[in-house]
C-alpha cells in the first residue's frame, strides 16, 4: 500500500487533488481511497487530504499517519515543522515553492523536490491553482501510474477548454521534474 498526504490551504484544490490522484490510480488498475481531513474547510486555512492506493481492497479508514509521499501545495506551510510528521523513512516531499530544494531537504531531513506550480498554473490555466501540476509532477517522480491515467482522471472532472489547459499544464509539469527519481521508494511501498 502506498500512502500520500496532501497539505495545502483551503481553496487550492486539496480534496480535488486527492480525488484526482485516487482516480488516476484507479484508472491504472489499482484500488484507491481518498478523503479530506474532515473539517469546516475555509479559504486560506491549512487543510490536509489523504490518499491510499493498493493492489488489494483497502479497508483501513484512519487518517494517513505515515505517508510515503507528501505534497505541499503552499510553501508558507513549510513554516510548520510538523508538516512532515510521520513521513516514512526514505519518504519524499513535493513542494510548490521557489525555495531551493536543498534548503527544503535540509530543513526537514528528507528528499524534496520543489516546483513553482503556482506560476505554471497561472500561465497555463490563468488561475493560481497548483494541484494538477503537482499531481503530474508526483506521477512523473514516482513513475507508478502512466500519465494517461491522470489525463483520464482529469477528463472525468474537467471539460472543454479548462480540460485542454489542464492537460497542457500537466504535460509541462511532468517534464519539469526528474522522471522516476522516486521510483524506487514507490516500488518499495
Amino acid at each position: 500500500m502506498i500512502e500520500y498526504r496532501i497539505h495545502g490551504r483551503g481553496g487550492q484544490g486539496n480534496v480535488a487533488a486527492a480525488y484526482l490522484l485516487a482516480a488516476a490510480a484507479f484508472q491504472a488498475g489499482w484500488y484507491c481511497q481518498a478523503f479530506p481531513a474532515f473539517g469546516a474547510e475555509r479559504r486560506g486555512a491549512p487543510v490536509a487530504a489523504f490518499v491510499r492506493v493498493d493492489t488489494a481492497p483497502i479497508t483501513l479508514r484512519s487518517q494517513v499517519r505515515n505517508p510515503h509521499f507528501l505534497i505541499v501545495q503552499d510553501s508558507s506551510l513549510l513554516q510548520d515543522p510538523k508538516i512532515t510528521q510521520g513521513l516514512r523513512q526514505g519518504g519524499a516531499m513535493l513542494v510548490n515553492s521557489t525555495t531551493p530544494e536543498t534548503e527544503v531537504a535540509g530543513q526537514f531531513g528528507c528528499r524534496a523536490v520543489c516546483l513553482d506550480a503556482t506560476a505554471m498554473a497561472i500561465e497555463e490555466i490563468g488561475r493560481p491553482i497548483p494541484n494538477t501540476a503537482l499531481l503530474a509532477a508526483l506521477l512523473a517522480l514516482t513513475d507508478r501510474f502512466p500519465p494517461e491515467a491522470l489525463a483520464t482522471a482529469l477528463a472525468g472532472r474537467f471539460h472543454g477548454e479548462l480540460l485542454d489547459r489542464n492537460l497542457a499544464l500537466v504535460e509541462r509539469a511532468a517534464k519539469a521534474v526528474p522522471k522516476a527519481a522516486w521510483a524506487k521508494e514507490s516500488a518499495d511501498a
Binding site: 482516480a23 484508472q27 484507491c32 473539517g39 479497508t59 483501513l60 484512519s62
Partner: protein, 392 residues
C-alpha cells in the same frame, strides 16, 4: 460498472437507480453532497422525480411521509441535528407503517457542536420503529440502499441506511453501481395497499384509544422481528443477482480458534479488519470480528450463535448513553444474559465526535482485556490528561 466515486455521489446515484417518485431533503453536513448530487441528477434530466426543496428537516420528513402515504416511493437523507428535528415525524412514519428509505450520514449531536462522525444521531431515534442498517463501506451503503427500497416495500417498515459521515460520505473509492435495467429487474414497483386514494377515502393518523394502542405496538414489534428474515433473504437474493452481499444481519470473520470476539458497526469494522490482518499474528493474537449490519431489528439469535464459545466479547460503541455507558454494549449484554457460559463482555465507546480510530486500535483493544483492573465500560480513546482530576 466499477467507478472511483465519492460515497455521497454513489448514494445519490444508487437512489436514482431506484427511481423514487418523491425526494425531499434539507442539506446538512455531512449529508449535503448526497442532496446536491440528487438535485444535480434531477436538473440534468437523469432522474425524474418530484424533488421538493424544503426549509427544514421537519418538513423534509413530513413531505416524505405524505408522499409515502399517497403510495409514492419516497426518500430523504439527513444527519445529526437534522435527525433530531425530524424525530417526531420519524416516529409517525414508522407508527403509520409507511414504506420509505432514509440515509443517515451519521454525525455527532450538539452540544458541544461537532460536525464529525459518531452514531449519536441514529441512536437517538433507535426506538422510533425504523429498521436501521449500518454500512461498513461505500459499496455496502450503495447495495444496502437498493436493498432498503425492497425491504421497506415488503415489510411496510421504513428503513434507515446508516453510513458514517465523512469517513464514508466523503471518501472516494471504487464502487460498483448496477445498471438501471438490473435494478428495475430486481426491485419490483411499489404497490402499497393502504395508499391514500380519493376514490376510496380512508383516514391516516387517527387517534388510537387505549383499547387498541398496545395491539398496535405489539404488531409493530412483531413486524420488526419478522423483518429479520426479510433483511437476510433480501441480501442473499441481492447477492445472487449482483454477485456480492452486504452482510445480512451480521457477519463473522477471523480466526475460528480465537477466544475473543469484537462486535462493531459501520466503518470501524474496516479499520479493525486492517488491524487484524496486520497484528493478529503478533502479540495481539487472533480475534473474531463480528460486523453487525442490522441494528434494528436486533439479531439476538444470530449474535448469540456468533459469540458462543468465546471467552470475551468486546463491543465497540460509537455513541454513549451518559449515566449508563455504551448503547450497543448494553444491548449485547441483554442478549448474552441467561446464555450458558456467556462470554465476558467488555464495552468501549470509540471515535466519538470524529476522533480518528487508528489501525493499532485492534491490538490496543486486545491488550486492554488483559488488564484485570480495566472498567467494564470506558470511553476508550479519551485522553484523561485533558481532564481535571475530578472528571477522570
Amino acid at each position: 460498472m466499477r467507478e472511483a466515486l465519492e460515497g455521497s455521489q454513489a448514494i445519490a446515484r444508487a437512489v436514482s437507480l431506484c427511481e423514487p417518485d418523491v425526494v425531499a431533503a434539507y442539506p446538512i453536513t455531512p449529508q449535503t453532497h448526497i442532496v446536491e448530487n440528487l438535485s444535480k441528477l434531477v436538473a440534468d434530466g437523469d432522474l425524474h422525480t418530484e424533488f421538493v426543496s424544503v426549509e427544514s428537516e421537519f418538513s423534509a420528513a413530513s413531505v416524505a411521509l405524505g408522499a409515502a402515504a399517497a403510495g409514492a416511493r419516497a426518500y430523504t437523507a439527513t444527519a445529526s441535528q437534522g435527525v433530531l428535528l425530524m424525530a417526531e415525524v420519524l416516529f409517525n412514519i414508522a407508527g403509520l407503517r409507511l414504506p420509505m428509505v432514509m440515509t443517515v450520514a451519521n454525525r455527532a449531536v450538539s452540544a458541544p457542536l461537532s460536525i464529525w462522525n459518531d452514531h449519536a444521531d441514529s441512536m437517538a431515534v433507535r426506538d422510533s420503529g425504523w429498521i436501521q442498517l449500518h454500512a461498513a463501506s461505500n459499496q455496502e451503503a450503495v447495495d444496502t440502499t437498493i436493498q432498503a427500497f425492497r425491504i421497506t416495500q415488503q415489510t411496510e417498515l421504513p428503513v434507515m441506511v446508516c453510513m458514517d459521515g465523512f469517513i464514508l460520505t466523503h471518501t472516494m473509492e471504487p464502487i460498483d453501481l448496477p445498471s438501471i435495467d438490473e435494478v428495475r429487474a430486481w426491485l419490483p414497483p411499489l404497490e402499497f395497499d393502504r395508499q391514500l386514494d380519493p376514490e376510496d377515502p380512508r383516514s391516516v393518523g387517527m387517534l388510537v384509544t387505549p383499547d387498541f394502542f398496545p395491539e398496535v405496538r405489539h404488531s409493530h414489534h412483531t413486524a420488526m422481528r419478522k423483518s429479520l428474515e426479510v433483511i437476510e433473504t433480501t441480501d442473499a437474493d441481492f447477492a445472487q443477482a449482483f454477485g456480492r452481499a452486504s452482510g445480512g444481519l451480521l457477519t463473522v470473520e477471523g480466526d475460528v480458534t480465537a477466544r475473543v470476539g469484537i462486535v462493531a458497526m459501520g466503518s470501524t469494522v474496516g479499520t479493525l479488519q486492517a488491524g487484524m490482518a496486520h497484528y493478529a499474528a503478533e502479540a495481539a493474537g487472533p480475534a473474531l470480528l463480528i460486523k453487525l449490519r442490522s441494528y434494528r431489528p436486533f439479531p439476538a439469535r444470530a449474535l448469540r450463535d456468533a459469540v458462543r464459545g468465546l471467552d470475551t466479547v468486546i463491543v465497540i460503541d460509537r455513541a454513549i448513553s451518559p449515566g449508563m455507558g455504551g448503547i450497543l454494549g448494553t444491548e449485547v449484554a441483554a442478549v448474552l444474559a441467561g446464555m450458558p457460559d456467556a462470554p465476558k463482555l467488555v464495552n468501549h465507546a470509540l471515535g466519538l465526535g470524529g476522533r480518528d480510530i487508528p489501525e493499532t486500535i485492534y491490538s490496543d483493544l486486545l491488550a486492554a482485556i488483559r488488564d484485570p483492573d480495566a472498567p467494564a465500560f470506558s470511553v476508550f480513546d479519551a485522553d484523561m490528561e485533558k481532564l481535571p482530576p475530578e472528571d477522570r
